[in-house]
Every structure is written in C-alpha cells, then in structure tokens.
C-alpha cells in the first residue's frame, strides 16, 4: 500500500470539512480527482512568470510560454509511450477529444452503408457523438450487447463486426462497473476486420501504465482532471497517418497555414487541431500532474487501487442488503452497488452527511443501466489518498443508512 498519510498531506482539500463538520472521505475519483499542491503551484507559477499567448509572439515571455506548453506535450507523449509528438493533441477533455474524432474524422470517412459499433457500457461521451455522427452521415449506429454481468464478450464482438464496420468505440475501463477491457486483443480483432478503434481512456490513465504503441489503438482520449491535473485540459492521441488526413474540427488562429478568400489551408498536426488560444496553463500543469504520478509510480498506484477494491468488495459482500454489480475480476478501483429497497440518492445523501463523497445515479451510462435493468447505482471509486479505514467508514455509514431508512 502507498503511504496514504504522506500523500494526503500533499492535497490541501483534505483539511476541509463538510457542512456537518465531518472531514472529507472522497470516494468519487472516477468523476474527478483532487489536486496536489505541486499542480496548483504549477498553474500559479505559469501565470506569475510565463503568461503569454503561444506560437505567435517573438518576445521572451511568448517564447517561454510556448516552450512550457510544448514540453508538456512531450511529457504526455512519454507518459503514453507514443512515438511522435505530433500525435498528441491538447483539448478540453475526453468528451471533446471523442467529438473531434466522431465529427472531424467521421465527417470525411463515414458514409451511408458504413457502420459504427459502440459497446453498451460506454459513457455517453463515447456513445452519443457516434450516434450523432451516424445520423449526419447516414452510417449505421450499432450497440454491442454485453454479458449479463455487464462485461464485454469478445465472441459477440467478433460477430458484430461486419465488412462495413469502420469504427469501434470502446472504453478501456468502465466508469460504472470498473471492468477492464482487453484493449490489445480488441484492437487486434478490429484491425483484422479493417476497423479502426477509438479507446476512451478516461478511467485507465490514472490506474495503470499505458503503452499506446503496444495497445495499437488508433485514437485514445483522456482528461487531465481525472489524473490530478486541472479541469479544462485533456488529450487526444491519434495515429500520425490518421491525423494527417483528418479535417480540423474547429477553425481559428494558430491552426492555419494560409487563408484565402475562398480557400484556406491548415497546418500539420498537432497544431491543425488546436484552434485558438489553448488552455496553456492547464496543459503545463497537466505535465506537472504526470510528473507527480510518475514520482509515485503507476505500478504502486495500480496495486493500491486493487487492494482497496478487493477489501471494499469483500466488506460489501458481507454487508446485509448490499447488492454488488459487475464482477470482482479484471477490474479497477471502481465499485457499483445498490442497497436493497433504498434509492441510490438516499444512500448518497446519508453518506454525504457522514462526509463520504460517493456518486449516485446512472453515471452517464444510461445504455448500461438499461442493460442491467436498473435506474442507477451507488458508485465508489478510489485513488491514491484513500485507505482501508475509509472503506470501514463507508460500511458503517451504509449500516446507518439502513437504520435511518428502515
């Protein structure tokens, strides 16, 4: 286990208390993570010493600002183990990254007769943009059914792929159930079929070491705010050859080669996809967040997540009236459950009163809820600053919940 007390000291938010005076037990890390001092300092330092618009100015600050921004791109490239810097595009987050592909790539490459396949466990961000892209292009939108426990079935996948399937959109880790999809295998199956793969990495990037060259996926997206970085910045990775032939999703300053009255040409990637003033400070601070993660080590982080998850799964299994969803195998630090006859929101309110922050609802995965035949779940999701004691507090609060709601 990580030294949690040491880690918590680096996160200022843990000195706050809630309205009921309780200290924070933050178990909503799949929604967003808390920020360490170094990231806040990085943000502030940027604005105090480097702030200038990038890629256009020929004075000191503009140059330093540009370098800091591009250096951060380098950190992301290393973090994801990708070969070419220009395969890393800064954007607002996972949602925008996927929209850039669904609409930017989709616009030119989807036609009537084509098919797009998404799994039924996708977050709305990797579901609805494809649905809309299909609507506009006339392509067929297909949803891959899941096993009854909500996990992916590779046999169904093979069956669902047709010669017309141009794109498979699949999440690396389910944000609701925590199950980890075998992306490498999935990509092989898809590529054998001539199908590209868009991987939603929102939940995997802070859980395990990644090597996109090994995964061999065509596109990959993640959000800075889910890996201790600021909100408002995220990353789209795309294979060089694909980005080179992809239309820009947005047009504006910094991405233009030459503007003519009737025709405009664009720069090469990555700049083609970064129109206008980007969130420079946030991008720089994301680099700092990745340094922070590397400092702890993703192997230790993964181990920490899994230990917490196993302990919580075990304790929840032996807690009366708790119904766990998903399966404990092959899964990250995310658990969904329900308490018999008590609505998830009522559970969350009572936990919240005890200072325990959990999420209740459909977690932006309505198709998965439909598949499981439920309207929502209570979800706990762990991070490096959580410990066993917090799991115990969760269990106690669930017992209290039953008492109050009985």
């Amino acid at each position: 286990m990580l030294d949690v007390s040491l880690i918590r000291k680096q996160f200022p938010i843990f000195s706050t208390v809630n309205d009921a005076g309780k200290p924070l037990v933050y178990l909503d890390n799949a929604a967003t993570t808390q920020k360490p001092w170094v990231v806040l300092e990085s943000l502030s330092n940027y604005y105090r010493t480097l702030n200038a618009n990038i890629h256009r100015g020929i004075y000191d600050l503009a140059d330093k600002s540009t370098k800091a921004y591009e250096q951060s791109r380098g950190k992301v490239a290393q973090f994801l183990k990708v070969e070419h810097l220009e395969e890393i595009i800064f954007c607002r987050g996972t949602t925008e990254a996927i929209n850039m592909v669904a609409h930017g790539w989709g616009m030119d490459h989807l036609n009537p007769g084509d098919e797009v396949l998404v799994t039924a466990m996708e977050h709305h961000a990797n579901f609805v943009p494809w649905q809309v892209a299909c609507e506009y292009s006339g392509a067929k939108f297909k949803v891959l059914p899941l096993n009854s426990d909500g996990s992916l079935n590779l046999e169904s996948l093979k069956e669902a792929l047709t010669p017309h399937t141009r794109m498979l959109a699949v999440t690396h880790i389910s944000n609701t159930l925590g199950c980890i999809n075998p992306i490498q295998e999935i990509v092989k199956i898809a590529h054998n079929n001539g199908t590209l793969v868009m991987v939603d990495g929102a939940q995997s990037v802070s859980f395990q070491e990644l090597n996109l060259q090994d995964l061999d996926c065509d596109f990959f997206a993640f959000s800075g705010h889910k890996i201790f970085g600021p909100m408002g910045v995220g990353v789209l990775y795309g294979k060089r050859e694909l980005l080179q032939e992809m239309s820009p999703y947005q047009q504006g300053g910094s991405m233009i080669y030459q503007v003519g009255e009737q025709k405009t040409t664009y720069k090469a990637p990555p700049h083609r996809f970064e129109a206008g003033t980007p969130p420079v400070a946030d991008a720089v601070a994301l680099g700092t967040a990745l340094d922070f993660v590397n400092g702890i080590g993703l192997a230790s982080i993964k181990d920490h997540h899994i230990q917490l998850r196993n302990y919580a799964w075990e304790r929840l299994t032996t807690t009366d009236h708790v119904q766990l969803l998903g399966s404990p195998n092959q899964s990250a630090g995310i658990i969904s459950f329900n308490v018999e006859n008590i609505h998830a929101h009522d559970v969350a309110t009572i936990l919240g009163e005890a200072g325990i922050a959990v999420r209740a609802g459909h977690h932006c995965t309505q198709p998965l809820m439909d598949h499981l035949g439920i309207s929502g779940t209570v979800r706990v999701s762990f991070s490096i600053y959580n410990d066993f004691n917090e799991v115990d507090q969760l269990i106690d609060a669930l017992v209290t919940t039953r008492k109050i709601m009985a």
């Binding site: 929101h345 309110t349 009163e353 609802g361 309207s375």
Partner: protein, 139 residues
Amino acid sequence: MRPELKALYQKILLDRAKSTLGFEKGPEAQHIIEAYNPVCGDQFKLFLDLDTDKVDHASYHGYGCAISKASTSLLIESIQGKNLDECRKLIDFFKQCMSGMATNPGEIYQALALSKEFPGRQQCAVLSWQAFENFIDGL
C-alpha cells in the same frame, strides 16, 4: 449527523414513500405527464383524468428516491377531486412550504422542505409538482 437528516427522513415521509396509495399505471388516462430528472434518472408518470376543470382521477407510476416518491404521492393524493383553481392554490402552498414561508405547513411538507439542506436534493422534492404546474400552465 445533523438533526436535519433525521427530520428529513422521518417516519411520515418514509411511510409515504413506501405507500402504494395512488401508485397505479393509467395508460388510458386523458393526460399523461412526465416528470423526469436527467441528473439522477428519477422518472414518474402522472396519469390524470379531468372533468372539465376538475381532477376526476389521478395516479402515478415510476421510480425515484424516497423524497421524490413521497412528494409525488402527496401531490397525487392532494389534487384528487380538486378543481384547477384549487390545484393552483395547492401548488402555491407547496412552494411556500418549500421556501419555509408557510404559516402552517404540516409535518410532511416540513420534512420535504428540509431537502434543500442537502446537496442536490431539493429537485427531488419539487420534481413532480413542477411537472404538474407546467401542465396546468399549458392548459
């Protein structure tokens, strides 16, 4: 734990949430009103038969938390047999209770009003009332 939590989830509210009073599908109803909260997925259908301007029969179906169920059940019971003017007065009264400005709110209304003390829960209390008000306004 603050006393407000116990006062919110008090017996009268929980009993109301569990009661099956008015909980009944009415697919043939004259009017079917949808009360849906996209944030949490809570979803009720209100089934109404009007006799000119009087609520002849009302029932509801769907799912939601204890607060939204109790509140919806209360609404359905309260409007039974009322004419539209009375319904409007009832809605005003409900709003006053929710804002803590009613002089004589009654226990269950008081409990519902406490929802605003808890993050994101007031919406649960007003969900069906709002849908019903929108419906009346649109008549």
